[in-house]
């Protein structure tokens, strides 16, 4: 079975995620690392691929520093990596990114495509759903359990109301949640062997060209002030005062 994992390289939380004031987008010029959420997808791909003969490929779209995310995936055990790297693609929005990834996926023609559930730096728009749409294949999201059987994949998906079990024929696109597994630490051998594994670089032209983003970032502003902090001493009536406060704030 051939599995492709789509990963994203994000600024490391410790290094300081900041917004670049000139572009008003997340500053991606510094150190980038594999998004924590994507590690679950890589792990799942490796587990599903274990013992079989097939390959696991990691794909990312991002600036040169994104190669780090690929290296980590390779160190974990992924066989091959593809890096879509082109300045023309910087600032791509959801649809633009989905188009580029879909182009790579069409090229690779995998049985299963995995995503992590959200990007560690930018909140949660569902790239997988957009990619599935463009590939015209079924998608399952928020999978906390996954099995592949014959020609189909079955996922247990977490929703607000409990768990759904959904089945789809391969090829399919699945986004896995962080409840699905515990990502392995790359072994030292894996880390050192990573640079010898095949890595391919693609430009914008290889993936159908860039598309002007359909969304814009206008400006930044500080968050609304919290409001006054009020502290009171309990004179026996604290419970009542709390309830009144909660009602006033309309949370009760």
């Amino acid at each position: 079975m051939k599995i492709v994992v789509c990963v994203k390289a994000v600024p490391d939380a410790a290094g300081g995620r900041r917004i670049d004031p000139s572009t008003k987008r997340l500053d991606r010029s510094g150190e980038l690392t594999l998004s924590e959420f994507d590690a679950y997808a890589v792990e799942e791909a490796l587990q599903l691929g274990e013992g079989g003969d097939g390959e696991v490929v990691a794909v990312t779209m991002g600036p040169a520093g994104a190669a780090d995310a690929l290296r980590k995936a390779l160190a974990m055990g992924v066989d091959r990596a593809v890096h879509v790297c082109d300045d023309a693609l910087a600032g791509s929005d959801l649809v633009g990114t989905a188009r580029a990834l879909a182009a790579v996926l069409e090229r690779e023609s995998p049985d299963l495509v995995l995503f992590g559930q959200q990007s560690a730096d930018g909140g949660g728009a569902c790239l997988w759903a957009a990619v599935a749409e463009l590939l015209r294949r079924p998608a399952i999201s928020q999978a906390s359990e996954l099995t592949v059987d014959g020609g189909s994949v079955t996922g247990k998906r977490q929703t607000e109301f409990g768990y759904d079990t959904i089945r789809a024929p391969l090829p399919a696109i699945v986004a896995v949640s962080d409840a699905i597994n515990t990502p392995r630490y790359p072994s030292l051998k894996g880390i050192m062997g990573a640079k010898r594994k095949p890595q391919e670089s693609l430009s914008s032209g290889d993936v159908g060209g860039a598309v002007a983003p359909a969304t814009t970032v206008l400006e930044l502003e500080p968050p609304p002030a919290r409001g006054e902090a009020r502290t009171i001493e309990d004179d026996g009536n604290a419970a009542k005062q709390i309830v009144e406060f909660l009602a006033e704030k309309r949370v009760l």
Partner: protein, 662 residues
Amino acid sequence: MSVRPADFPPPWSPAEALAAPVDAPDERIEVGVAIVGAGPAGLAAAIRLGQLMEEDPATAERLGEVPVAVLEKGKAPGSHLLSGAVVNPRGLQRLFRGRKRLDEMPFAGPVEAESVLFLTRRHAYRIPTPPTMVNHHNQIASLSRLGRWLAEEAEAAGATVLPETPAVSLLVDGGRVVGVRTGDRGRGRRGERLGNFEAGSDVTARVTILAEGTQGHLTGAALSAFGLEGENPQVWALAVKEVWRVPRPLTRVIHTMGWPLRPGRRYREFGGSFVYPLGEDMVTIGMVVGLDYRDTALSVHDLLQELKTHPRIRRILDGGERLQWGAKTIPEGGFVALPRRFHAPGLLLCGDGAGFVNVPALKGIHYAVESGRLAAEAAWRVFAPGASARSALRSYDEAVRESFIWSELREVRNMRQAFGRGFWLGGALAGAMTATKGRFPAGDLRTERDSEQTLITTRRASRYPAPDGKLTFDKLSSVFASGNRTRDDQPNHIRVQRRVPRQVAELWVNMCPAQVYEVDGLDGGRAGGGSGAVGSGGGGARAGALRVGGPSGGGARPGAGSGGAPAVGGGGAVGARSGAGAGGHGARPGGGSTRSAGAAASGAERGRGHGHAGGVGGGGDREEWVEVRVVPSNCVQCGAISARGGRLTPPEGGSGPEYTLT
């Protein structure tokens, strides 16, 4: 009855850090030269090796597929590097053979002016800069930043830098060091294997260069296993520092002495502070205190907070914002505490780990770089066709003894020890030493192990400022500012006895800048001193003649305490593998911890909340024993505990601080 931390040695022995290779040959990672530590020493070694490989590709081939591997326990090179720092660029200029200009190295700027101030609570008196501290031609730097850059240079030179990879034991086979074993990942609090458990690996190499920095874990094991200790035990200082963004540039390098340290001989408070500009808009400020201090109420972190309230210092930071905080120990024994040899079969020691620090000049980085460079050259000789490994490694010792490292350290060899006599007498002695370029005194002053100082307890803690979150800060928010986000359910990497006399517990609670130790009845942040019973302890009796104290039996084993590491001899396999081994797992609050009556609640709880109170505890019966809790995930791996009765061992790779500006 006088209490000394050395009487409560940690449940650990250097033998735990020695092991025989266990991995099957195809599992092992074979490299040419294994370097432990991506600090200035280790990276200089890697860079020099890269140069030698480029000049002589035929010999380079003999190093194999992975010629040079640098193992770093921090998240990235620089994550665990902390210093002032004012750097003598000589080491780096020699390393790069003049092919890099100073302005191509990531310095924050040259030292343009400097002052040395003697502080009292309210005033600052400029004193002439002692000759050993003149910094003309020197550069200011963030060591963390420098380390990141050196790592890039090392990789460009062909080295493989492996972050998040601690070396937990020295692989010894047939009496020779054959490499190191890396740490396991994915163990739980009780040492159990978690879902993503990954065992460490044997990394084998013909030459292993230990560049672990202060309190080197494997260095300590090697010193005892190979009988390398010198005549005097090593001693350390603890440095706690912050980096601030400031609205007005600081135009000079400042060192201070005096307040808030106490000059009296019984306190043994040796140290001072530094304030350096880091470019136009940042300043770094730090407090350094020798770990032979005696007062259990002393907290270097809080002394730093106190220092910032001095009008002269506050002025510099006004309107600014704290960006980062960190802590690390510095070896201070100098020349007389150096190991008697810097090599063993298959092994070389460099940098701070070997003790190459010039205390009066506050310099060690250029020695680290130079020693790394020399170690690389010696290691290289091992690979020359027909070489004798023994004489190749021995050439390192010879080179070190002929280098400026040796001559400079020798010149200032007694300075630190003199200050064991107190500031005034010490200052006078130091002056005499400088004037005579080290010819006076003729002999060598001895050092005493830090953990052997008897403890006293005063009300010092009641004077620490309450953290205001703007100028002064509590320990927990400082740990946060170090970038530490270690996972909570790791095995406990700190080895201490868990039931100790209250005084020892107080010492640890206050000493640790990261609030790792907690005792019921003592507020986590600042404990001790509340009872006002100013202790006796009898330490003063040790002073006497110029020889301030004899070395204890067993020589300079850094903090090992329990002694008796098995010698490494003929048959090879030694000792237990380190790992989730001896004692001290978990941080369950014991049942049965005794409380001294009333001391808990009665302490003067000024300040705010948990971790802030001044002067709690220390009351009542100092003979009383208490249970010590350990919060290992706070640890920033400064190493202070190793100097005072415990032992820091390397936690899981990637843990601890993530320094970038220190």
